[in-house]
Symmetry: D2
Subunit: 399 residues, 4 copies
C-alpha cells in the first residue's frame, strides 16, 4: 500500500499547485451568465503575457495540446500545402504524422533523437525554395521525448535571411511558461501549448497564440474544420464566451495559475526552471549517467532524458520507482523505450523535490542492477543549489 | 453581493454532486503509469451501461459534445455523403451547420421550433431513396433549446420499414443518463453525449457510443481527421491509455458519477427525472404559462422551455433571477431569444431544488412585469410531489 | 437514495460558503513557522470588528461554543460566586447547569420558553443587591431553542441604573455576526460565540470577546482551569501563536469568512438576516402557523421556532423533510420536542433558499397530517421579497 | 516566492493524506440527523482498534490533545490527589504544570532531557507508597521534544510488582497510531491522543481511551468539570451524538484515516514508521550528527531530535530550511532551543519524503555554517531503504 506524497516527475501533466487545486474546486456555474467574461477575458490577456505577444490572438480550445496542433494547421493551411518539418523525437514525429493525415505535403528532415531542430538544413531548403512553395516551417521548441530545446530564433533568422514568407509554427507545449519563449520577438505565427505543463493545470485546454499574419491566412484557407474553427471562437470570445460548453473549472484554475506566474514573475519562473534543471543535470552527471541531449546547448530546462547503462533496462527503473517509491518518472518513448528514463522538472517545483527525484532515481537504478554509489547524485545537486558549485557558464566555457 | 447557494437551473453544465467534486479534487498523476487502466477501463464499461449497449464501443475524447459530433461524422462518413437531418431548434441547427462545414451533402427538413424530429417526413424521404444515397440520418434526441424529446424508436422503425441501410446518428447530449435511451435496442449507430449533462461532470469529455456497423464504416472512410481519430483511441484504450494527455481529474469524477448512477439505478434515475420534470411542468402550467414544446408527448424530462407572456421580455426574467436571486435559468436561444426562458432539470436534483426554481421564476417574472399570483407554481408542483395530484397519464388522456 | 443539494436549515452548524470551503482545503502547515502570525493575527482584528469592540480582547479556543462558555466563567469568576441567570429555553438552561457544575451560586429566574430575558426581574434583583453579591449577570442574546432574541441593552441599562458592578456575560453563539451586537456600546464583558453559526465555519472554535474589566478580573480569580486559561493564550497570541496545536484549516476558513462578511459589510449582513427572516416568518404565518416567540419584538432573525398544530407530531415533519426531501430542520428541544420544529436562517443564505425551506415545510407538514393549502407560505414570503408587501414596521404598528 | 510542495517534517500536525483531505471537504450537515450515528459510531470502534482496547471506552472531545489531558485528569482524580510524574522534555513538563494547576499534588521526578521515563525511580516510589497515596502514575509514551520513547510496559510492571492500585495515565499523543501501543495488554487506564499526529488529521479532536477502572473512578470524583465531562459524552455518544456541536468534517476525515490505517494494517503502519525512522536516523548519523535521545533503545519512531554541532545555531538551520527550501522542521523546545532541530517522521510518509528531509537538512546545515559533506546523509538512508545495509538489530548488538 502506498503512503505519503506521490512524487510526480513526468514532463507533464505536472504537479498542480495547491492554490490552483483550490481554485478549481468550485460548483458549476452558468457559462452564459452576463458576468462570465469577468472570469474569462482576463485569461486571454494573461496568456498573451505568457506567450509574450501583444499583437497576437490567443485561443483556448477544450481539448489537449494535440487538438491545438490540429487547430493551428486546419485554420491556416490549405490541403496539399508543402510544409517543412523535422523528426528528432517522439513528439516531432507525431506532429509530422498529423500533418500528413490532414493532407499536407510534408518535407521531413530526419535528424538523430537527441539533436535539435536542423536549422542549417532548414535554412538550406528555405533558401532553395525560390517559388515559396513551402507554406510553413514547424519547430518543436522543446522535444519532450529527448529533453532537447531547439533554437527557434535561429529558424526565424533562416526565414528572414532568405526573405521567406512561410508561417512559423512552434510546438511550445513543454516549453511555454517554463523556458524562454517570445512569440512577437521571434516572429512565431502559431504557438501551440496545453494547460497541463508550465501552466500547472490538468489537461483539458489546447492553447494557441496566433499572429496577425496567421489570422489573415485563416480567412481564406479551405481545409475542413468545425470544432477547431478560429472564426467561431473569435466571434464568441469577444464577450468572454465560447461556441460550446467550456471547462469552467479549468478557467478558474488558469486564473490562479496565471496569478502565481505573475506574482513570481515570468522571468523568475524561467530562471527557476533553469536553476532547478541545472541541479537535476548535475545530479545525473554526478551519478555518472549521460543525457540523450547531444550537447549542453540543447539541454532542456523542463525535462531531462537519461540513458541507463548498458545491461540495465530503464523499464525496471521506472517500475521500481513507481511500485516501491511512489514515484513517477517519464518513460523512454518509442525507440528510446528501455534505454532511457526521463525526469520532468517543470511547473510547480522546488529544490527539495528535485533532490527527491535524484534520490529515488539512485535507489531505483541500484535496485534495477546499476552500480550506484549512493548520494553522489543528490550531492552534486546540493552543491549547486547551495551555491557551492561553479556556474554552468564556466563549465560550458571549459568544455 | 451574492450570498447563499447558487441556484443553477440551466440545461447543462449541471450541478456537480458533492461526491463527484470530492473525487475530482486529486493531485495530478501519471497517465502512463502501469495501473492507470484500473481507473479508466471501468469507465468504458460503465458508459456502455449508461448507453445501454453491449456490442457497441465507447470513446471519450478530451473536448466537448460538439467535438464528439465531429468525431462521429469524420470517422464514419465520406466527403460529399448525403445525410438526412432536421432543424427544429438551435442545437439541431448547429449540427446541420457542422455537417455542411465538414463537406456533407445535407438534406435538411425544417420544422417548427417546438416540434420533434419529423418522423413521417424522414420515413417518406428514406422510402424514396431507392438507391441508398442517404448515408446517415441524424436525430436530436433531446432538443435542449426547445425542451423537446424526439422519438428515436420511430426513426429506427422508419429505416427498418424501408430496409434502409443509413447509419443512425443520435445527439443524446442532453438526454443520455437522464431520459430513456437504448443504443442497442433502438439500433443507434452513433450516440453522442458529453460529460456536463446527465453525467454531472464539468465539460471536458466528448463521449460516443459507436455500433459495430459504424466501426466497420470507420475503417474505410476518407474524411480527414487526426485529433478525433477512432483508430488511435482504439489502439490506446485497450490498456486504458489515451493517444494524448487525457483529463485525469474528470476520469475520477466520472467514476464517482457512474457509481452514483448505478447506486440509484439507471431506471430510477430516469424515473426521477420524469417525476421532477412533471413537477416543474405542473408548476409552469400552474403559473398559467405555456411551453415551447408543441405537445405533451414531446415534453422533455431534462429541460422545460417556457414562453413568457406578450409584452414581457424573457431577458429581463433571466437578468432579475441572476442578479437578485442568484439563480441561473437557460436563455431563449436564437429566434427564441427574449421570448423564452428555460428551466434545466437534469442531473443531481431533488424536489426542493425544483421548488426553488419555480419560486424564483415567479418572483423574477413578477418583477419583469408579468401578472403573477404568487405561490401558484410551487403549489401545483407540491401537489404532484406529495402525491396529491392525479397522474399525468390521466391528465393527458383527459385533454 | 438522496440526490441533489442537501437543504440545511438548522440554526447551526450553518451552510459553509464555497469560498470558505475552498480556503479550508489546504495541506497541513507548521503552526510554529515564523510567518504563522500573518495568518492568525488578522483574525483577532477581524473578530473584534464582528464583535464591535475596540478595547476588548478576542480569544479563539479550539473547542465549541460550550467550551467558550466555560472559559468565560472559569477565568473571571471565583468558586461560589453568585450569578444571575434566566432559563427560557434549552440553551439558557444548559448554561445554568454549567454554572452550577462549575461551583457558582446561581440565582435562576425561570420564565416561559418563548419569553425573552426577564429584564424587569433582573433589574429588581440587581437593585435589591445592595452589597454587590451578584458577581455576574448572564444573558442569552439569542435563545436558539425558541427563536427569541433578548434585549441586552436593557440589561445593561438595568445594571447601570443601580450602579451595579456585576460582569455582563452574553451568549451570542447564534446572534453574533448575524444579529446586531455591540460589545463595547452595550458594555458586554464576556461575549461568547462559536465558529459554526454566523461565521459560517465548521464547529471547532470557541470564540470570546473579553472586556478590560473582565481581563482584570481574570488576573485574580481562583477557579481551576488549564486548557481554557486566558493567560496562556494572551502570552502566545501576541505573535499569532497558540499554547497548543490550533485548527489551522479553520483559521484559513475564518479568514475567508471574515472577508466575506466585510465585503458584504457587517451592517448589510445583519440587514440581510433581518430581511430573509422576515420572509420566513411571513411564510410561516401565511401557512397559518404560530411561532414559539411570544411577541414580534422577540422574533429572532437567525432561527424561527414554529408550533405545529394540535394532533400533528413535529417529529414526523422533521423525519419526512429529512427522508423524503433531503432537508434538515431544527427539532423541538426538550419540552418543545414533538411540538415544534425550527427553521434556521442564518449565515450564508438567500431568498431562494428560504423559499425552499418554506416549500419543503409545507410538503412535510402536509404529509405529517397537517391541513395545508399549498403555496400559501412561499407566496407570503415572495410578496415580501419582491417588495409587494407592506413593511413589518407598519404591520407591527397595526397590531 | 515559494513554489512546489511544502515539505512538512514537524512532529505534528502531520501531512494530511489526500483521501483524508477529500473526505473532509464536504458541505455542512445536521449533527442531530437520525442517521448521524452511521458516521460516528464506527469511529469509536475504529479508535478502539487503534488503541488496541476492547474493554475500554473512547472519547472524542472537540479540542486538542491538551484538552484530552485535562479531561483525563478532571474526570478521574480528586483535588489534592497525589500523582507521580516525570519531567524529561517539554511535553512532560507541560503535563506536570497542568496537573499542578488543576490542584493535584504532583510528585515530580526530574531526569535529563533525552532520558526516558524513570522506571526504576517510579518503581522505588511506588514500592514505598504503602498507603496507596499515589493515585495515578503519568507516563509520556513518546516525548516529542526529545524524540524519546519510554517503556510503558515497564511502568505497568512496576505497578503490578508492588500491587499498586494507581491509575496509569499515558500521553500517547505522538505515539498512538504510529508506535506500538497496547492499551489493554499494558493495563493503561487513560490513554490520551489527538487527531493531528498518527491519525493524520488537522488538530481539533482530543481523543481518550479510558479503562473500566478509570470509568468507575469517574463516577465518584469531585473535580470541577463541565465541557470535558465524561458522563455527558457517554449519554450522547450512545446514539452517535454529542453534547455540543462536534466537528463533523473531522469525523469524515477520521473515517478516511481509519480506513487507510486498517487497509495498510496497523502492524504494517507501525513497521513502516520503524523502517522510515531507522532510515532517518541512519541519515543523521551519516551526517555525523548526534541525537538527543540517550540510547538507541529510546529512539522514537515518530520524531528524531538532532543536536547541531557546537557553534551552529539550530534556529538558523530551521530558518534556512523554511525560507529557502520550503521545508519545516521542528524546533528545539525550551532548553533545547538553538541547540536542536527535529525531524518529524510520522503519519503519511514514504522513503522519498524522508530523503527530501535529509537532503534539505544537509543544505540548511551547510548554509548555517556546519561542515557538511553533501550526500552522506541521504546515502546512509538509501542503503537502508534498498536493503543494502545491515539491520539495526545487528547494529545495536554490536554496540
Amino acid at each position: 500500500m502506498r503512503t505519503g506524497q506521490t512524487h510526480l516527475f513526468i514532463p507533464g501533466p505536472t504537479n498542480i499547485p495547491e492554490r490552483v487545486r483550490q481554485a478549481m474546486n468550485v460548483p458549476m456555474q452558468d457559462m452564459r451568465a452576463p458576468d462570465f467574461g469577468e472570469l474569462t477575458l482576463g485569461l486571454f490577456d494573461g496568456l498573451k503575457k505568457v506567450l509574450r505577444t501583444e499583437s497576437g490572438r490567443v485561443f483556448m480550445f477544450p481539448g489537449s495540446g494535440t487538438g491545438a496542433w490540429e487547430a493551428a494547421i486546419t485554420n491556416t493551411l490549405n490541403p496539399g500545402d508543402r510544409v517543412l518539418m523535422a523528426r528528432h523525437g517522439q513528439f516531432s514525429t507525431l506532429w509530422v504524422e498529423m500533418a500528413q493525415r490532414l493532407g499536407l505535403d510534408v518535407e521531413v528532415v530526419d535528424v538523430p533523437w537527441g539533436a535539435g531542430a536542423p536549422v542549417k538544413e532548414f535554412a538550406r531548403r528555405l533558401g532553395a525554395d525560390r517559388e515559396g512553395r513551402i507554406k510553413a516551417v514547424f519547430v518543436t521548441h522543446n522535444e519532450t521525448a529527448t529533453g532537447v530545446t531547439s533554437n527557434v530564433v535561429a529558424v526565424r533568422q533562416a526565414l528572414d535571411e532568405c526573405f521567406h514568407d512561410a508561417l512559423l509554427f512552434v510546438d511550445g507545449v513543454s516549453s511555454i511558461g517554463s523556458i524562454d519563449f517570445r512569440m512577437d520577438e521571434w516572429g512565431v505565427d502559431l504557438a501551440v501549448t496545453g494547460s497541463q505543463k508550465g501552466l500547472m493545470l490538468p489537461a483539458g485546454l489546447g492553447i494557441l497564440g496566433v499572429s496577425d499574419k496567421a489570422m489573415a491566412a485563416a480567412e481564406t484557407t479551405t481545409m475542413r474544420r468545425a470544432y477547431f474553427e478560429f472564426a467561431d471562437m473569435v466571434k464568441m470570445n469577444e464577450g468572454g464566451y465560447f461556441p460550446y460548453t467550456p471547462p469552467t473549472q479549468l478557467f478558474h484554475g488558469l486564473r490562479a495559475s496565471l496569478d502565481l506566474i505573475f506574482e513570481e514573475g515570468l522571468d523568475n519562473v524561467i530562471a527557476r526552471h533553469r536553476r532547478l534543471a541545472e541541479g537535476v543535470r548535475r545530479g545525473v552527471h554526478g551519478m555518472g549517467l549521460e543525457l540523450v541531449a547531444e550537447h549542453p546547448s540543447l539541454y532542456s530546462d523542463t525535462v531531462t532524458a537519461i540513458r541507463v547503462p548498458e545491461g540495465v533496462d530503464a523499464r525496471d527503473v521506472l517500475r521500481i520507482a513507481y511500485e516501491r517509491y511512489n514515484t513517477s518518472f517519464g518513460s523512454g518513448l518509442a525507440k528510446l523505450n528501455g534505454k532511457v528514463f526521463r525526469i520532468g522538472h517543470l511547473g510547480d517545483l522546488n529544490e527539495g523535490m528535485c533532490l527527491t527525484a535524484l534520490s529515488v532515481a539512485e535507489m531505483a537504478l541500484a535496485e534495477a542492477g546499476t552500480q550506484v554509489e549512493f548520494g553522489r547524485g543528490p550531492a552534486a545537486a546540493m552543491a549547486w543549489f547551495t551555491g557551492q558549485a561553479e556556474s554552468p557558464a564556466l563549465r560550458v566555457a571549459a568544455e
